[in-house]
Every structure is written in structure tokens, then in C-alpha cells.
Amino acid sequence: MKIFKSIKWRLQLWYGLILVVVLAGFGFTSYQLERGRQFRRIDDELHQRMEVLKNALHRQQPRGPNGNRPFPGQPPRRQNQDEPPFDGPPLGQLPEDDPQGQNARPRFSFSLPPEAEHLFETADPHVYYFSIRSRDGKEIAGSTNQPQRTHEYVTSTYAGGPANLVKIIGGPVDQVKGLSVIINPTPPKVSSFAHYRGIFESLPSGESISVGCSVLPELNELHRTALNLTAVGGLILLVGLAGGWWLVSRSLKPIAGISATAVKISAGDLSQRINVAEAESELGQLAAVLNSTFARLETAFAQQKQFASDAAHELRTPVTVILTQTQTALNRERDAASYKQTVEACQRAAQRMRRLIESLLALARFDAGQEVLKRTRFDLAKTVSDCAEHVQPLADERGVKIISEIAPLEITGDSERLAQVVTNLLTNAIQYNQPDGEVRVKLESQGDLAMLTVTDTGPGIAAADLPRVFGRFFRADQSRTGASNAGLGLAITKAIVEAHGGTIEVASKENSGTTLTVRLPAA
């Protein structure tokens, strides 16, 4: 799935999951605590009622060692009127002053003390009920609102009791469905059936009491609590997801910007930059780094483009010469001399192109670091004087005097390439000189460096142009008269010198000549 590969969605999914787990845990714990609290309260209520019933039963039982005393036809309420409730002796510790208790346990009736009646009000939504059974499982007394049973009972209204109390005569307790019955529980056990919760206690005297109530109100409240918790949890989840989405979108937005910019750049528009103001975070640093990379790329591309354009431009002129020369010659029949002229002009143009191409290739090789220097130990002094001799005819033609000051000096390097350097410098100095000017060439040792200086008495180079002197296709006066090189001479010179680990500098004052200084490591 593509959607799960997106960082945005993965983050969203991850913290969504964490949020759900935390909220669910929290909600579940809250619910359980609330549930426990509610049921403890119910149980307290039930235990309280159980105590009341136990006390009441105790007092209404026949006094005797067995704890049973019949009260036939006597409303217990009346009998107990003068006695304070709940303070009878506990069951099983019956006083010895009742010898009649020896009798077999007779059937006896039970009535709820009036002060306890309110505990089993029918109007109470909890519908507290109770059931008291004799040892043999017959119900001695119980409330009418006991949970529905499937077992059949014979019921008869207890005349003196409250309307909701009935005397039930029926089967054994453990057959009663609808109540979970635990036969011998001391202390009282709590059990639930459907939405009822009850406690059951067997007395040592043989009777058993069960008290219960409906927990429907609690269940309803717990249900509401659960709904509330779910609603709040859901709301928090939504807010969390929305906030997370916003945060993630906002954090990732610079990435979209960066990628949009990168797309435009890869499509060729190198002038595009990432808007760094939008990315002040960690991505901002990335954007800044990328921007500086893009800037360098753009500069490199612009230089490359300019170079290619300049190269093409330089090739256009000789091609134009060849085209016009041949087209003119072919326009009509010519004599041999005229054809010869045309061919010579074409040859000149072709040679110009050849020189240009060679220069371009040399530069390309130096740029790519593919130029292999044939390093040998050789006499640089001899090379310089040989070169000065070579360019002498050109100097004579221009009326320029060459003054040499050459100290003997050996150097390790490519003698052919270094000869090219010297020739280039001398040719330049002669070509951009004035008539009757002079060129001083000086070679000396300076520490472990060989220093070659070539000084001319030409018009000099404008200060603004100095930084571009070693650039490609630079010409001080845009003139094409010195068509022998296309403004690549010094660029190639610089490339050769730097390939030898040397440096080249230019110093010039307008109208007072130019000095080029080459320093080469002698070793």
C-alpha cells in the first residue's frame, strides 16, 4: 500500500495507535475503578441489610439452645416493639435462659422490624429484596420483589406484614433458580445474577438469609460512564490525530517545498531555490545546504554553458568563412588563381578551427584530470632560451625586443608542456606590446621554487579585467586580429602550471605594461 510508505501516514498511524492504547487503558481503568466503587457501595448496603435481618431473625427466634422459638400467629412487630432493634445477642450464642429451645424446630414466622422496612422500599430503584429460609430450605419469609423464579412456590400473604412481604413456602434453596446460591458461606458471599446482586449467608442455627438488589441503576450509570469515557476518549483521539496531522504536515511541508524545488531543478531550471524561511527547523539546515549546492551547480552550469557558447561562437567564424568562400567560388566559373585563393582561405579557416579544437580538448583533459604529464628532470633554462629563440621572428615582425635574464635551473616536469607555457607567455607579451616595445623574460631560483617572469611594455590590462585574464575566451580588446588563439592561451597556460603544482599571477598597470609570474616547484 502506497499510503503506508508515506512518512506522514506512518507517523500518523504510529501515534494514533499509541494514543488509542493509552486512552483505552485509561478508560478501562477508570471504568473498573468506578465499577468497583459502585459495587462496594452496593455490597455495603447489602451487608447492612443482612445484619439487620440477622438481628431481627435472632430476636424473633424462640429462645433456646437451638435458637428456634415459634411465634405462631403473633406479629413479630408487636412483640418487639419495646425492644431496641439490632441489639439482641448474636446467633449461636443464645442465652441459657431458654430451655424450651430443646424442642424440634417448629415452623415460625418472621416479620421485618418496622425501623428496617424502609430498607426494602419497593419505590427504591434498587429493589432490595430478601429471603429467609429454614434449615430444610423452605422459605420462612421474603419480599415479593424477589427475582423471577422458575420453580413453583406456594405463597401466602403474611397478614401482619407490609404489603410487599410474603411468606413463601417452597422447595429447597439450592433448587431456586434465579439466585446463585452458595450453601455454606461464612462470611457472606456476594453473587450476581443477571442484573441482580445478592449476598447469602447460612446461619449456624440452620436458617439461611439471602439479600439482594437490582443493580440496574448502577449498570445504567456505568453504561453512561462508559459512553462518556468513550466519547471523551474519542474526542481526545480526534483532537490528537488532528493536531498530529497538523504538526506532521507542518514539519513535512518544507520537504514538499524541497522536493518541488528539486523537481524544477532536475527539469533544468537551476535558478530555483528552496524558501529557507519556511524551513527553520532541522530541515532549514538541509535546505540551506541544498541551496548552496544548487548555487554552485548553477554557477558551474552557467560557466559550462558560457564555455560551450564561446566555443561554438569561435567556431562559427571559420565555418562562415568556408561557407561564403565556397559559395562565392561556386557561383560561377572562375580561373585557377581565384580557386586557389578560395582553397587557401578555407585552409586558413580549417587550421583556425583545428587550433581551437586542440585547445578545447587540452582544457577538457586538464579539467577532467586526464592529462598525463610526462615528468622528467630537465634544464628549464635551456627550454626558456629555446622558446625565446622560436618567437624571435614574431618579435622582429612587430619590432619588439626580447631581453633574457636566465639563470641555470633544473626542474622536474613535462618539458613539452612547460615549453608551451613559456611560448604562450612570450607570444602574448609580443602581440600585446607596442611597436619598439620590449619583452623581459627572467628565470631565477627562489628557494625551492623556479620563478619565471615575463614583462611587456604593452598597454596593460584594465584592473576590472585582471580577474578574468585566465578565464576562457578572454581577450583584452575583443579583437580577432590575434586569431591564432581564441583567448584560450592563458587558460591553458594556467591549467598546465597548476597541473605541475605551480602558481601563475598577473600584475598590470594600464599604459605601463603587464607582468606574468609563474612559480613552479623545482623538485
Binding site: S309, T328, R480, A483
Partner: protein, 216 residues
């Protein structure tokens, strides 16, 4: 038609000049900017072929200065084919440009076009009565039949036709039909006029005594 070529590459200059002369133009040449501007300002050329990259003053500068005094049509030769270069050329006052390397045919066509436009002609065909001058093919027809004319005679007819209705002085004709190297004899022009009248009819060229010639 007299044309000035300003171009510093000698082989190119030579072949351009030769080709244009063979096309029937009178051609002057200059191989640097300063001479070029001097010539352009001093003579009423019918068109100037101007290279952009020149030693001394470059093509843009020549054009800028020339436009202060003259409306001579200018065809720029440029090795730069980027749009901004062309726009710059046209904005500075060039009438057209050709990018190197070019074909001679294209240069001829563009030259004819700028000369025609400067004479307010819109087509290559000029019809004067029964005479039809095709400036593209450099042919002249009399009653739909081609008439044989020398290059100089054709140039005379073309110049007068392009300035139809105007009185063209002898000086103007000398200036536009002969280049600076030709020692023009004063009666040479009369010979050409007379030959044209023989071929195209005596009334074709009217003489305005003391002023010059005219095609009505």
C-alpha cells in the same frame, strides 16, 4: 545599390565583397569599427552589413552612433544567436540580422528585403507602365518579355524604380552605383542611361535638366 561591409575577418570580408559585387552591388569595405563608422556616416549607403564583434569600436556602438544621423538600413552579422543578442540588435536600430554561419543566398535575400523596405516597397515586383522590375530575380520585363541588361544598367533601373517619382541627382546615382574604388567618369552614367532608354523605351527615364533623372 551601394553597400558597406564592416567585417574584421579578412577572408570573410573578401568573399562577401566579391559575392555582393557579382550580385551587381557597389561594395565598400571596412575591417574595423572606426573605419566602418567613418564610412557609414560619410556616405549614403543603400545598406550596411555590420559584424558585431570588431576590433576597436564594436557593432553595437557603430549602430548606436550611426542612428543619430542616418537611417541607412543595417543588416547585422552575429555569431551569437541568443535571443537577447538579437533583441539587443533590433532594439539598437538594426533592421535585420543574420547568424553566423550563414548562407550567401540568405544574406542576399535579407539585403534586398531591407533595401526594399527602406524604399517603402512591399513586394519584389515593381511595375512601371509596361515595364516590370523583379528585384528578387534581378530581371526586367518589357510587355512580359525579359530584357537583357548589364548589372550596372539593372542597378540604375532598380535604384530609379525604388525612388519612383523622385528626382534622383547624378551625384546620388554615382554614390549608389559605384563604389569608392571606381574612378567614375562623368559620362559613364550617361552611357548607362542611354542604353536603358534604348532597351526599355525613350520615355522610361525622364531627364530633369540641371537636376537629374526620374522615373514617373
Amino acid at each position: 545599390m551601394r553597400i558597406l561591409i564592416v567585417e574584421d575577418e579578412p577572408d570573410l570580408l573578401a568573399s562577401l565583397a566579391q559575392a555582393l559585387r557579382e550580385e551587381g552591388y557597389a561594395v565598400d569595405t571596412a575591417d574595423n569599427g572606426d573605419d566602418g563608422l567613418f564610412n557609414a556616416e560619410g556616405t549614403d549607403y543603400d545598406a550596411i552589413v555590420l559584424d558585431v564583434m570588431l576590433p576597436g569600436m564594436d557593432g553595437w556602438e557603430i549602430l548606436r552612433r550611426l542612428r543619430k544621423t542616418k537611417k541607412t538600413p543595417v543588416l547585422m552579422l552575429t555569431a551569437r544567436d541568443q535571443i537577447r543578442d538579437r533583441v539587443k540588435g533590433l532594439d539598437t536600430g538594426a533592421d535585420d540580422y543574420v547568424v553566423k554561419p550563414f548562407d550567401l543566398e540568405e544574406v542576399f535575400a535579407r539585403l534586398r528585403a531591407i533595401i526594399r523596405r527602406s524604399a517603402n516597397q512591399t513586394t519584389n515586383i515593381i511595375e512601371i507602365g509596361d515595364v516590370k522590375v523583379d528585384t528578387a530575380a534581378r530581371n526586367i520585363f518589357l510587355k512580359e518579355k525579359p530584357v537583357e541588361l548589364t548589372a550596372r544598367e539593372y542597378a540604375l533601373v532598380e535604384f530609379l524604380a525604388l525612388h519612383r517619382g523622385e528626382v534622383v541627382t547624378r551625384t546620388q546615382l554615382y554614390e549608389h552605383l559605384f563604389d569608392e574604388n571606381e574612378s567614375s567618369l562623368s559620362n559613364l552614367l550617361d552611357v548607362h542611361v542611354s542604353n536603358v532608354r534604348k532597351k526599355l523605351g525613350a520615355d522610361f527615364i525622364a531627364t530633369r535638366r540641371g537636376h537629374g533623372y526620374c522615373i514617373e
